[in-house]
């Protein structure tokens, strides 16, 4: 199977202030697949995602999205190319209602009536809380509900690439199942997904390819199947067996 890479980072270095965080990250996200980015706390996963989104800029190396070089582009431009991003802290607008949060994510809609009904229904089915609290201020949601809203926002309109930072944290097992369903459905519809995850089961069930980071660099990448099978590798990279 020959796959083209939708997103490609090569030799990316990122500095935050005086700190040198990423030391030459090479990462390829094949089109139409779900790529899992794993690694210990502090390995640089979040930093990598933020660098892709242009929230921090690489000091060296390049980031390509499809045929576009997005290394130096500004965040809104990058998002407009068709990338949705769920940050680690969820980025909920707590003063706005759930509806308003969703409306902002739906770029094509001018007001709430113009949002895609079928898609909303689908979201409501996956994450009932979003419907239930539709007119509530989002700041009042529970931790898990916020997480659901954050993911719902990312999928309210179709996007080519979905980047999600730890979507499963704080979710009840039943909802994690929904989340897994959601991502597999999205994948089926042709969306490419890049996920950072700590929940290994989650990672294993969904991932097509895997990349493991440590100390600001990708130290392993390959297919999920091969990674799952190789316990010694897991042990050495993550300090545990899946």
């Amino acid at each position: 199977m020959t796959t083209t890479n939708l997103l490609e980072l090569s030799g990316v270095h990122t500095h935050i202030g005086a700190y040198h965080i990423l030391h030459g990250v090479n990462l390829a996200v094949p089109k139409g697949q779900l790529t899992m980015l794993l690694g210990r706390n502090g390995a640089g996963k979040t930093t990598t995602l933020r660098t892709i989104m242009g929230l921090w800029h690489a000091s060296q190396g390049s980031v390509r999205f499809g045929s576009t070089d997005i290394t130096a582009m500004h965040t809104p431009q990058i998002a407009e190319l068709g990338i949705a991003y769920v940050p680690e802290n969820m980025g909920i607008f707590s003063d706005l209602t759930v509806k308003e949060n969703m409306l902002l994510a739906a770029r094509a809609a001018k007001n709430a009536d113009q949002m895609d009904d079928a898609r909303l229904k689908w979201i409501f089915k996956l994450f009932p809380a979003v419907e239930k609290f539709w007119n509530h201020p989002a700041g009042k949601l529970s931790g898990g509900q916020k997480q659901m809203l954050a993911v719902s926002r990312a999928i309210v309109e179709p996007r080519e690439l979905l980047i999600v930072d730890e979507p499963s944290k704080g979710l009840a097992p039943a909802i994690i199942n929904n989340m897994i369903d959601a991502f597999s459905e999205l994948k089926k519809s042709g969306v490419t997904i890049l996920l950072v995850e700590q929940n290994i089961n989650f990672a294993q069930r969904l991932g097509d390819t895997v990349a493991v980071m440590d100390n600001g660099a990708v130290v392993h990448s390959g297919s999920m199947a091969a990674f799952s099978a190789d316990e010694a590798l897991q042990q050495s990279l993550l300090g545990l067996a899946l």
């Binding site: 935050i16 700190y19 690694g39 210990r40 706390n41 502090g42 979040t46 680690e88 809380a129 009042k140 949601l141 529970s142 931790g143 898990g144 509900q145 997480q147 659901m148 730890e166 944290k169 704080g170 979710l171 009840a172 097992p173 039943a174 909802i175 994690i176 199942n177 929904n178 897994i180 700590q198 929940n199 290994i200 089961n201 989650f202 069930r205 993550l238 300090g239 545990l240």
Partner: protein, 254 residues
């Protein structure tokens, strides 16, 4: 003994915690589980005083805490770590912990209002803080500012602050959420050590069922704000409410 009686809170029409009566004995670890939005965090908020109950009471060792503000409840012996990390972002890791040590040790409320002694003279506080940081494996980063810590380390610090308070009641709200599987044991070991102490009351909100199964002496289940199950871990997990509403039938992943 921590006890809530008929504890209720309404937000407009929505009853987030509905008449929950429950007692927690020292020396036991009670896990609180339930779907997202079940009211677990809100229940904690009611106990620790971040929210005012619409109805019901909270007592600790027979002393009523109901009218007290959060700070007074903390001084009375309730300790709390938050679900969403909530620290002093521009102070160093060490100072964060030291502040918590100062807050509750040795009648230290007065010490907090002490305007005239020099802070750095209070060596004992620093030593204690250092010790706690060693416990949560953050010693190496004690001079880093909190804002620059990765998410996982912030979670650890959150727990460290709780430890520093040396409360009678420990309330953990998803302490390992977002923590790497290799790091989580540090926190879990701490909780195990607390359990050994046998005098502490421990409440733990956690979605990872393997953790719950291993640590809990007892599980209570909240659903739509109501207490719907209470008992032995294996029993409760096997019960149909939990299987259906929480675990999403048998497709357990965590």
């Amino acid at each position: 003994m921590l006890e809530t009686r008929n504890l209720t809170i309404r937000f407009g029409g929505h009853v987030a915690v509905n008449a929950v009566s429950c007692a927690f004995a020292p020396g036991t670890l009670t896990a609180i589980v339930g779907p997202n939005g079940a009211g677990k965090t809100t229940y904690f908020n009611l106990i620790s005083g971040q929210l005012k109950a619409t109805e019901g009471t909270v007592t600790l060792d027979g002393q009523s805490l109901s009218g007290l503000p959060a700070s007074a409840r903390t001084r009375a012996g309730l300790g709390r770590a938050f679900q969403l990390t909530n620290l002093f972002p521009n102070l160093t890791v060490l100072e964060n912990v030291r502040l918590a040590v100062q807050a509750t040790r040795e009648g230290a409320h007065r010490r907090g209002l002490n305007l005239w002694s020099i802070w750095s003279d209070h060596r004992a506080l620093t030593e204690r803080a250092d010790q706690i940081l060693a416990d949560v494996a953050l010693k190496a980063k004690e001079h880093a500012t909190v804002a620059s810590l990765p998410h996982g380390d912030q979670r650890k610090l959150e727990v460290a602050l709780l430890m520093a308070l040396e409360p009678k009641v420990f309330m953990f709200d998803e302490p390992t959420a977002g923590m790497n599987a290799a790091e989580a044991p540090v926190i879990l070991d701490l909780i195990r050590a607390l359990k050994k102490d046998k005098t502490k009351t421990i409440l733990l909100v956690e979605h990872k069922m393997d953790v719950v199964r291993e640590l809990a002496d007892r599980i209570i289940v909240l659903h739509n704000g109501q207490l719907v199950a209470d008992g032995e871990p294996s029993e409760v997990i096997a019960s149909p409410v939990v299987q259906e509403a929480y675990l999403g039938v048998a497709k357990e992943v965590a």
